[in-house]
Symmetry: C2
Subunit: 505 residues, 2 copies
Amino acid sequence: KYKIEPKDGSKSFYTVQEEKIEQAERSVLISCPAKTNEKKFLQYLSRHGDINKCFFYESYGTYAVVEFANKESLKSLHEGTAIPSINHEATVPFKSRLLSLRNTGPLDLSNGQSAPQCQPQTTIPINDLIQRMSKEDSIDQQISSLTETYQLTEENVCLRFLVCSLLKDIAAAYFPECTIRPFGSSVNGFGKLGCDLDMFLDLDGISGRNLKKPKAGLSLEYQTKRSASERAATQSILSVIGECVDQFGPGCVGVQKILQARCPLVRFAHQPSGFQCDLTANNRVAMKSSELLYLYGGLDQRVRYLVFSVRCWARAHSITSSIPGAWITNFSLTVMVLFFLQRRTIPILPTLDHLKELAGPIDKSVIEGNDCTFVSDFTKIQLQDNTETLEQLLQEFFEFYGTFAFNRMSINIRKGREQNKPEVSPLHIQNPFEPALNVSKNVNGTQLERFVALCRESAWMLQQREFNLPHSGNGASTGNNAPWGLAALLMPSVSQAAGVKSRKK
Amino acid sequence: KYKIEPKDGSKSFYTVQEEKIEQAERSVLISCPAKTNEKKFLQYLSRHGDINKCFFYESYGTYAVVEFANKESLKSLHEGTAIPSINHEATVPFKSRLLSLRNTGPLDLSNGQSAPQCQPQTTIPINDLIQRMSKEDSIDQQISSLTETYQLTEENVCLRFLVCSLLKDIAAAYFPECTIRPFGSSVNGFGKLGCDLDMFLDLDGISGRNLKKPKAGLSLEYQTKRSASERAATQSILSVIGECVDQFGPGCVGVQKILQARCPLVRFAHQPSGFQCDLTANNRVAMKSSELLYLYGGLDQRVRYLVFSVRCWARAHSITSSIPGAWITNFSLTVMVLFFLQRRTIPILPTLDHLKELAGPIDKSVIEGNDCTFVSDFTKIQLQDNTETLEQLLQEFFEFYGTFAFNRMSINIRKGREQNKPEVSPLHIQNPFEPALNVSKNVNGTQLERFVALCRESAWMLQQREFNLPHSGNGASTGNNAPWGLAALLMPSVSQAAGVKSRKK
Ligand SMILES: Nc1nc2c(ncn2[C@@H]2O[C@H](COP(=O)(O)OP(=O)(O)OP(=O)(O)O)[C@@H](O)[C@H]2O)c(=O)[nH]1
Ligand SMILES: Nc1nc2c(ncn2[C@@H]2O[C@H](COP(=O)(O)OP(=O)(O)OP(=O)(O)O)[C@@H](O)[C@H]2O)c(=O)[nH]1
Ligand SMILES: [Mg+2]
Ligand SMILES: [Mg+2]
């Protein structure tokens, strides 16, 4: 019953990406007066061509994402669009696909009309989630309620690809054949509404890189700036794009160039979408990791359900944090869930080595000397017949990591077996594609202990009969649903019972 | 005899600019091996289309400027051009029209061939010029020899427009409809080989600025970054372009962003052309000044001859300098020559007020509240019948400024008459288009005194019979031409005789 229908999950990662990138190229983002009449709005825009999709949302004002059926419509739209002229202010006349709708007419639009219906782009507060979950009838239902509440909506994913596409227009000024691809939780299937937008500037499509020189005779080359290393070239490129985003990018604020990081990046907030954005370049391994997570998440529904539950639980107890530090990251946590699912008596997930064996010629990928090959075609993967429920798995997850030999063993999803730890970090999770690296090198002993204590406490709680019963206590009759099951595991009292200090930030 | 043939000088400033800008857009700059066979080279390139013009020159290596007949040829050229791949180095894959020719063939190219003939892009040293001038038969001939040696060649002007066009490709990434125009001595008719390249980023062609909003109903606007002022917007734009030039611009070195200056600019050296470049934006008055100088220089040959002579003389005695400071600028000096020519008993040049009276409707120009209108059509201007020789004019120039009442009077080419000085600067030259400004505000008393002393000394020398005779002294018979006439005025001994210290830099 947890097997995924081929129709939903079987499109390969790159197929999905290319489709969404192409859709985003035909889309625009328009700031609208609050009381815009949706019908008049669509009528007005459709003079430029057929519209495939349109939705509204709120973020420092009302915005609409409009996807045209044909790219040519954008040209027509641009021709009719003005550069604003404001008294006593000047503008940088940079033209993008972020527009504003003005209504200079009579009271036409606000003529008794209501605001357009807006799609939510953020999650509900944790306490509301706890309330909602407590009304469910089983832990399995709680888990799916949590996942459905938190996961990215189709609209939110569209908006993420659109922001990438807007940024691409800035980068394409210099690298016309570039692409900007989202990676990380925006596309790996584990993203929560409101998660950051990780982007990767892909310059591999630039033509002229692999032109063969004639054996004999004359040939032409571009004169280009030389850099001492790939890293320096990446820094140059990000430096310029960061400057452009800062000076020209409408709605882009708080631009920081973090060029000295291990993976140089430009960070900024994109106000119209509300996304916190990280732009990197030359970061293909992270792209492969995202693809792998997408694949694992697409094999069996329970994977995503369990990851959402564990991520939410970890965030509620400040095991993870939105700021960097010595704590476990969402990425590490996800790898731990995958590893756990590989370690079931009847494994739910295959090992990465097995996925590599199944790879076809088109899947071959070597990045900076590391073999990142694995199968991309879902249909080639044969799963085993594990029928454990989500409730069982959640319980077992906490027991597994509550008793894991972290002091001796390393978590390794490539082999699907713990390995002897090659170094002394408290938590060792082998990077799937860079075997010499530890994904959780940053985690200190205290943070690992907190995690283990919370796993034990949560496992213990799930074993208690009263926690496992819906509408436990006085809830059922009075309508006052006291938290139970997974909902109860999200309560601050759990940290206290586990004896770990909650570092609420 | 000094009147300019209509064919040569009568094209309006903007007509010439537009022609040369369009030619530059069809051109590429190619670094070539020293012994490139010109015929094979042209044969190789002509596969992409007909070539209108091609010339070679030296600047840190051999370069060729190639102008195709059609812009489409560039597309074909780009398709066949590779991005270089170098071991142990990375490149920023930015594609421009600055290319390198590689010869991977057998010894074909160096097969007994000589290097292509190169067009000089720099002036000869002053001592060689003095030698050359001393062989002439009259001061008039010396003056024209100096001018012909120093003035920009047709090829050098092409190269200047090409460098602007290459830079435009960088700026056009963000402002597709922009133009980069040369101004100052590159185009005003008074440029000397090796003079700097002053450029102006013209954003006025950007569409959508003056779109009318509908009287009633909906309209769209671009969302743009706001700036506190035009100046701040200009600084933003130059900052980004400066960053791009620095990081991506092949051959662009020593990039400095001088954004706090009265007129913010980006300065850099363009190695392939050898030009020192200054890029400004929002600098329309300077463009008008260049047009005015071009017009004055095109009215009568003697104007350019006299300006070249005086500029050369001033530079030889460090009256002007290539570094900024309290000395007279070439621009001020040129205005002083123009003023002198307006002040002849029979004026050689009309006043700016007169040129304004002759203006037609298309000439109307108001920039930031200043009326910059003057006629652009040479044929509308009636000149008076002054037949003074260059020798006379040079002599009179030195006498005029050797005795000018600098302490009381201001130089004013708008009225063509000295005016009472409105402020206490030692030298006051009213800015033709911004009447409240003094073009030579920077000049201090010492520098003005040096100028006056050198004018007096030079006037005195030109009055001495032995200086005015060709081949004076022992030169004529021995072939050792001792400097005489204008050549003698360029010798360091003149500064010494004038009792002014020469600040050789
Ligand atoms: N190899 C490796 N990749 C990492 C590491 N941290 C992050 N990544 C990659 O970078 C992506 C984005 O990182 P994050 O934004 O921190 O994580 P995320 O998966 O997007 O999850 P959120 O916390 O929801 O943003 C991840 O999905 C990984 O693919 C790491 O330590 N090692
Ligand atoms: N109004 C005004 N314009 C100036 C001034 N200085 C320079 N300009 C303008 O800017 C142009 C370029 O300045 P420069 O590069 O210093 O002078 P130039 O005429 O190009 O002469 P070179 O010394 O050969 O470069 C000039 O031609 C003028 O049009 C000034 O003080 N006032
Ligand atoms: Mg992320
Ligand atoms: Mg200049």
